[in-house]
């Protein structure tokens, strides 16, 4: 698989997204890219097994909570965002029992990989890394599943940033 994923920006120019990922996420991407297909699947399942560890812990407080059941997902998914005094985002997630394995994998991967990034960094994140983690075959056969968690995390970050901007204007 090519590491040099490039995409077109709004002006149509090629933009290389390589190296623009947060450090923790980059490590996860590199790990998955080094694995043969069967080990990649095993590692995805290991992450899925750990998805429950990404749930909110007792006494944690959050700036925003977004719990909902979307048509894109088979069960309720909750996203909890806390932004600390240094502007770093900390994300927790809850998943209903019917949520599919790949969605659980992406939950654990993204909560770990994006820990400590800023909401703006998360919002600016190109989505091409998802294919590099799950592999082209799983993207091809379940394209509707693999981007869902990233979309939800970006969505809560956007709401947080919009509120910050509105507060600054006011």
């Amino acid at each position: 698989m090519s590491k040099g994923c490039s995409k077109l920006d709004e002006a149509g120019a090629a933009r290389d997204s390589r190296g623009t990922y947060p450090g923790k996420l980059n490590k996860i991407i590199n790990l998955f890219e080094s694995l043969p297909e069967d080990e990649r699947r095993e590692t995805l399942v290991s992450y899925a097994d750990n998805a429950k560890k990404q749930e909110p812990r007792q006494h944690e407080n959050f700036d925003l909570v977004d719990v909902r059941k979307d048509e894109e997902c088979t069960d309720t998914v909750g996203v909890y965002l806390h932004v600390d005094e240094n502007g770093k985002a900390h994300i927790r997630m809850t998943l209903g029992p019917e949520v599919q394995t790949l969605t659980r994998s992406m939950t654990a991967i993204l909560c770990k990989g994006l820990e400590g990034s800023t909401p703006q960094e998360i919002l600016d994140l190109p989505s091409d890394f998802v294919r590099r983690i799950v592999g082209g075959e799983l993207v091809r056969i379940r394209s509707q599943t693999v981007y869902y968690v990233l979309t939800r995390i970006k969505s809560i970050c956007k709401v947080w940033l919009d509120r910050q901007r509105m507060a600054a204007v006011a």
């Binding site: 699947r41 095993e42 995805l44 399942v45 899925a48 097994d49 059941k69 048509e71 894109e72 997902c73 088979t74 599919q100 394995t101 790949l102 994998s105 075959e137 799983l138 091809r140 056969i141 379940r142 509707q144 599943t145």
Partner: protein
């Protein structure tokens, strides 16, 4: 009032969880898991079961069609399946995808097929053994099927249209909202590219899951007969076509009609609503 059967027409097409646990190592059978959740098999499966993915393994990646007979032979050979192997299918979602895989096997003439009644959900609910160990079977030399049984169990657009025009039984097994044309996708699933909502004129609505109990097993024969013979107007000796969105949910209903009620002239229109709803010139109805 018609008398309804009290037993399935082909009870041998089902195996129960209790039976399977006692026959896991029988020679001559291959347990096949087929799911909607693409990684579910990897999280644990029935010991000895192989995994067949409905899209990656059974569908052609380029042409909207099933794999070639050559690829089917290679798939079976890889899993140690011969034409004499009895394939016992099971999976998530009340065996919805398992029935789809079974139907695809029948397309290639593999007749020794069964469904695990209750599927993966019931097996897990009963705390029966699961493993993450992927079995390896000696490769076989499955002969390339000489024909695909499209004519017998598969309907294409023109045949579905003919069915509609002639007023013969057509069963739409999608959700009521899809049937009425209020939505163009399954509730809880993304829109997958259908331009228009509604149903094929004359089709009766009977969501696929009507045939199952809460524990994912099939309803008894007399209840199934009331649902399909009385409410849908299906008759022995009359052609019946079933459809959904891409032919997966309807393969579950095809299994019920063919194996549990014993109708031998049921075909699955796998082009289904993703073809009909986009097809230029295809008539639709939106009535309740």
């Amino acid at each position: 009032m018609a008398t309804h059967p009290t037993q399935y027409a082909h009870p041998e097409a089902l195996v129960e969880t209790d039976w399977l646990e006692k026959h896991l190592k029988d020679e001559g059978i291959r347990i096949v898991e087929s799911n909607e959740d693409v990684l579910l098999y990897d999280t644990g499966h029935i010991p000895g079961a192989v995994h067949i993915d409905w899209r990656a393994d059974l569908q052609d990646p380029v042409i909207r069609d099933y794999i070639s007979p050559e690829k089917f032979a290679r798939l079976c050979s890889r899993h140690g399946i011969t034409p004499d192997t009895t394939c016992i299918f099971y999976g998530d979602k009340a065996n919805w995808w398992a029935c789809y895989a079974l139907w695809a096997f029948r397309l290639f003439g593999h007749d020794k097929v069964k469904i695990l009644n209750g599927g993966r959900d019931k097996w897990k609910a009963e705390s029966r053994p699961m493993t993450r160990e992927v079995p390896k079977y000696p490769a076989t030399n499955y002969p390339v099927p000489k024909k695909r049984f499209d004519e017998e169990i598969r309907a294409f657009f023109d045949e579905a249209l003919g069915q509609s025009k002639s007023g013969k039984p057509l069963i739409d097994v999608r959700s009521p909202g899809e049937y009425r044309g209020e939505i163009t996708h399954m509730p809880e699933y993304p829109q997958e590219g259908v331009l228009r909502g509604g149903h094929i004129p004359g089709a009766k609505s009977m969501p696929w899951k009507t045939a199952t109990n809460d524990d994912a097993t099939f309803k008894p024969a007399d209840e199934l007969a009331k649902i399909y013979l009385d409410q849908c107007g299906v008759k022995p000796g009359t052609d019946t076509v079933v459809y959904c969105r891409i032919g997966e949910r309807s393969s579950h209903t095809w299994f019920v009609l063919t194996y549990l009620l014993g109708l031998n002239n049921v075909r699955n229109y796998d082009g289904s609503w993703t073809e009909w709803g986009n097809k230029v010139g295809a008539p639709i109805e939106k009535s309740a």
